[in-house]
Symmetry: C2
Subunit: 342 residues, 2 copies
């Protein structure tokens, strides 16, 4: 297996990307291919005292920045670490790519260079969603496209379910559609149509889920359009910090409260840790012809290391082929259904 790492993607690249790669290389047998400015990467490998033989470098002189417009960047920077990395995947010289670079560019680049999986209308960015005191869920769409058709929502459910099962090891994951209420009749014309399609698919569809139940892990695959997905992810983060800040202020109110605060320091730290989902190893772009993992632009070496290690099952389990096959099955089902109507 060869894991491609966008060495220049992210706020702290290549320092943190290379350090993370070195740490990952020590615990895996697979090869890591860092793409980026050769001199800078060699310097970082030296600084980290790397002595192994499972890291190689592929040179790329350009860098796509966070400010670059996605489509233009992919077209006009053919020698950027992201584009070179995606081409390695396309040419089967790499099995999976991990990047902390410009999210829009990575989504667009994956679609333009790797292409969509046959039968998939729209590739999508998924995101790990932390559920308090429970295993994390997967949210699809995490903000790749602000609007969605019913067919897109069906695809999100199918692909999310496959990813959860094959890569994160959840058997028969519960797929839910974010909606105004649990009744089938609730929502917009799009969600009503999506409900019917998801119900007919070969997945464990648990129906509509209200936003209230999302943090509670009511479904393991959270299906919604990118606008709603963005609101869910950001509001969850905002609420977590608002409540923890409020708690912190309350614990400063009196001397007694301060003492109590010290007594539960360990518990408070472990509460904060519930929101840290680096251990899950980044967010997959689903629906393109190759496994692509997006990590935060602010990822440190730990997050990079984790993402590299966790990317292996994404490549190994042939998720792309399984999605392709699943889409063909779904199309056959729909055709059969349509025939039944005559």
């Amino acid at each position: 297996m060869r894991i491609v790492l966008d060495g220049m993607g992210g706020d702290n690249a290549p320092r943190e990307t290379v350090k993370g790669a070195v740490e990952a290389a020590e615990v895996i047998n697979d090869e890591i291919c860092i793409v980026g400015k050769r001199e800078l990467i060699e310097e970082e490998l030296k600084r980290n005292n790397f002595k192994g033989n499972n890291i190689i470098i592929v040179n790329a002189d350009e860098v796509i920045t966070m400010e670059d417009s996605p489509v233009k960047a992919i077209r006009r920077k053919p020698d950027s670490s992201m584009v070179v990395g995606l081409n390695l995947l396309k040419e089967k010289r790499g099995d999976v790519i991990v990047s902390g670079g410009n999210t829009g560019a990575l989504v667009v680049g994956s679609r333009m260079i790797l292409g969509r999986i046959e039968g998939i209308d729209r590739p999508v960015l998924a995101s790990i969603y932390p559920c308090l005191g429970k295993p994390a869920s997967l949210l699809v769409d995490a903000g790749a496209s602000s609007e969605a058709k019913a067919q897109n929502l069906l695809e999100y459910g199918l692909m999310g379910s496959i990813y959860m099962e094959k890569v994160l090891g959840r058997k028969n994951p519960r797929v839910g559609l974010v909606n105004l209420g649990v009744e089938e009749s609730k929502g917009t014309s799009v969600t009503k149509d999506a409900y019917k399609r998801l119900q007919q698919a070969s997945i464990n569809f648990v129906g509509n889920v209200e936003a209230r139940e999302v943090p509670n892990g009511a479904c393991e695959v959270i299906v919604c359009d990118g606008f709603v997905g963005n609101v869910i992810l950001k509001l969850t983060e905002g609420m977590a910090w608002s409540i923890l800040r409020l708690l912190k202020n309350k614990l400063m109110e009196t001397i007694k409260a301060k003492v109590a605060g010290l007594m539960i320091k360990g518990q408070l730290t472990s509460m904060k840790a519930e929101f840290d989902y680096n251990e899950y190893g980044g967010a997959p772009i689903l629906g393109v012809n190759g496994p692509v993992i997006k990590i935060h632009g602010s990822s440190n070496h730990d997050a990079v290391k984790n993402a590299i290690i966790k990317s292996i099952p994404y490549a190994r389990e042939n998720v792309v082929d399984i999605i392709r096959k699943s889409m063909l099955d779904t199309e056959e089902n729909i055709e059969e259904d349509e025939e039944d109507n005559f």
Copy 2:
């Protein structure tokens, strides 16, 4: 001033509605008109030992239930407490109405019986949004219509701003549009168009607001479509309970943590109280020809009492007239702008 109370609306009506009315009647000089089954209401007034003279009863033999379909209920139950109450407003025999009944029916009934304010395309349900450690914001649309046009979002911002200023006493309230990012170019074609319209309106528009900043009080009037509004309200509630439950579990982990938990009992109770927004007195339906206040179906007498008291400024401040005038001004502005283009 005469405040109309839907005596039969809500899960605990008429017990809690009448008790709340009696408690309110003791502290205000205005008249409360309870609409509903006369015998039941008289019985409750007796049970509460009411001796005052500022409660009157208007009989209504039917009740709209939570299960009733909104449009059908308004049309087919002309003698329901809700329809009779709304008609009192229409006939100027009441100045404001408070109801804990079927939300959909109240929105539809307000529109059908009172009519839309001239210039308003779509009346809307607003909701108080609790900001932790800060004064609450107002969210519009709280779920009346799942989709919205740019013009609707403009109306939500204008009406929300007027309500915040005139009824809740906030000077020049900050109005924000929920969006994927703060840049003007972010979002869907609808939010981009709404941004421009809100920017031209005579309100304190602070631009796009990310969901992360909403619990933090980044804007005092939160503008979004009803689907997103529903997600924001319910996710906020779900996150609050999830985190408080997690904290509770953490405080049971060890004996030391249990002791600390007892030491901060007061602080924990006051944290929970941050989520109680009954003190703000219910949610207004904005854009109809009369002040209508929706309270939770599960409201107890305290919530009813509060809503009655807080409904007085809504009626007194002529919010309906101010909205009408503001819409006329906006239309004049738009016409002038269009003329400028030639």
